[in-house]
């Protein structure tokens, strides 16, 4: 099949970018979207041109590396999939596609379709963890977890941190990503002790990194390749509000028994 691609080419963060048109004549419908770009890049390399830079790693839809806009939708037109798991059979012969990087101030462009998402790492460093030393696997039933909480925590933990939520959001908000981690850990007994502190620090960091705010449009939930729900965002708002209202200093003296 024939596919026409308009791809955003940008040398580096400081140089201006532009759309460049490419035509591919022999696209196999069984190729993944990234395999099609591999074919394009081989062709460009043969011609001595600079290949299109895009991020990828596992190509199984679980690592969160890949992702760019296809016709204005992160990860393309199919729901519940990353771009590496999107196959060309979902497109028509002769389709013209526009490929753009995720756009947000907090996601500066590295090159072409690649963006720097280390803002996510810094948000996780701020509070997306539990302070328990890992060791050998604990006895499975030593900490009981309510089934509903385990289910919701697992669904939130499915977030792969690809950044599509930020890209899709009309306000470039990172609320879905941040709330997924807050819900994932906050719903479990292991995460409960640091729940307030986590909400305070992660929301503060998210604001500092220059992400926008949530207007409850539901766009992120609709395009999330892992189906993370905006119910988590409500939990983040609740946790943050409660954490501020009930904030208490840690005792400087005492508390040692």
């Amino acid at each position: 099949m024939k596919i026409i691609l308009n791809i955003w080419r940008q040398k580096n963060a400081s140089s201006p970018g532009r759309m460049v048109r490419y035509e591919l004549d022999n696209v196999n419908e069984h190729m993944s979207f990234l395999e099609m770009l591999d074919v394009l890049n081989e062709e460009l390399t043969r011609k001595g041109e600079d290949p299109v830079a895009f991020e990828h790693d596992c190509r199984e839809g679980i690592c969160g590396c890949c992702g760019f806009m296809i016709n204005g939708i992160p990860h393309g037109p199919e729901r519940g999939t990353t771009v590496c798991q999107l196959h060309m059979r979902h497109f028509q012969d002769g389709d013209e596609l526009w490929l753009e990087p995720f756009r947000a101030k907090a996601f500066p462009i590295i090159k072409d379709l690649m963006v720097d998402r280390s803002a996510f790492d810094r948000i996780i460093s701020a509070g997306g963890y539990i302070s328990i030393n890992t060791g050998s696997a604990p006895e499975a039933n030593s900490i009981p977890v309510k089934k509903q909480c385990a289910d919701r925590a697992m669904d939130a933990a499915a977030c792969i941190g690809c950044g599509a939520c930020v890209a899709a959001c009309p306000n470039a908000s990172a609320s879905l990503f941040v709330s997924a981690k807050i819900a994932h850990l906050g719903l479990l007994p292991q995460g409960e002790p640091e729940r307030d502190r986590r909400a305070l620090r992660m929301v503060l960091k998210m604001t500092e990194e220059g992400f926008g705010y949530c207007t409850n449009t539901g766009e992120c939930e609709a395009i999330c390749p892992k189906g993370v729900k905006i119910e988590n965002i409500a939990m983040m708002h609740r946790d943050f509000t409660r954490a501020v209202a009930l904030f208490r200093e840690e005792a400087k003296v005492g508390g040692t028994g």
Partner: protein, 227 residues
């Protein structure tokens, strides 16, 4: 990043408001108050269909509240102020959060109402100012008679331009509520798979009721149903 220290109520409030979450909570709470006001205001106004005496008596009753009326007005004014302030600051943040717009952007789930909150809001504000000058203080009214609300409404809406502006603004208000009346629950953290679908339906029904109720009055005057 060190530990967060929040001493005292003022520091807490500032910390809360500075965050993207805090501003949305302020937006939601003030929005909720305004939502309830809009309903009460509409129900009061619909008494126009019960004739001049009923409506004018209701206006007299409201005026008779004296200090109470002013207390309500001040609360509403504070809510409007905070709603606008947080909206303005969040809008500025939105502009800075995505400095380079997409060349092509498609929306999968975002409603028209949700995307146009920032436009429906200011237009409704302009309308409210006109509305106050028109029916409350009278400066923008051609034949204002203090205390005779029924006459003021009929005379005011006999001008098709004024009526059309009322109709357009109230459609925008309904669109604003179509998104806002559900969004406020989500912003304060109320979301449950069992209740959220109903809250969304309730918000849409609410927007329709407010829209139809408010638009019906200028329409009824223009078409001569109410004279």
């Amino acid at each position: 990043m060190g530990t967060i220290a929040l001493n005292g109520g003022l520091e807490k409030t500032a910390f809360f408001y500075q965050s993207v979450v805090g501003k949305k909570v302020v937006m939601a709470v003030t929005g909720c108050v305004l939502c309830l006001f809009v309903l009460g205001h509409m129900l009061g106004n619909l008494q126009i269909y019960q004739g001049p005496e009923k409506l004018n008596r209701y206006a007299e009753f409201l005026q008779g509240l004296g200090a109470g009326l002013w207390a309500v007005r001040l609360v509403l004014l504070a809510c409007v102020g905070l709603h606008i302030l947080s909206a303005y600051q969040l809008w500025r943040l939105k502009l800075s959060a995505r400095p380079t717009p997409y060349l092509k952007k498609s929306y999968v789930a975002t409603s028209y109402a949700a995307r146009t909150m920032i436009w429906s809001g200011p237009i409704v504000l302009a309308f409210i100012i006109y509305h106050l000058l028109h029916f409350t203080t009278g400066q923008a009214h051609p034949d204002f008679r203090r205390g005779d609300v029924y006459h003021n409404v009929i005379a005011g809406f006999s001008n098709p331009a004024a009526s059309l502006f009322y109709i357009a603004a109230n459609i925008l208000l309904a669109i604003h509520l179509y998104h806002g009346a559900w969004s406020m629950f989500q912003s304060v953290g109320i979301n449950h798979p069992r209740y959220t679908p109903w809250l969304k339906r309730l918000a849409k029904a609410y927007a329709w009721v407010i829209g139809i109720g408010n638009v019906s009055i200028p329409l009824a005057v223009l078409t001569g149903v109410v004279k």
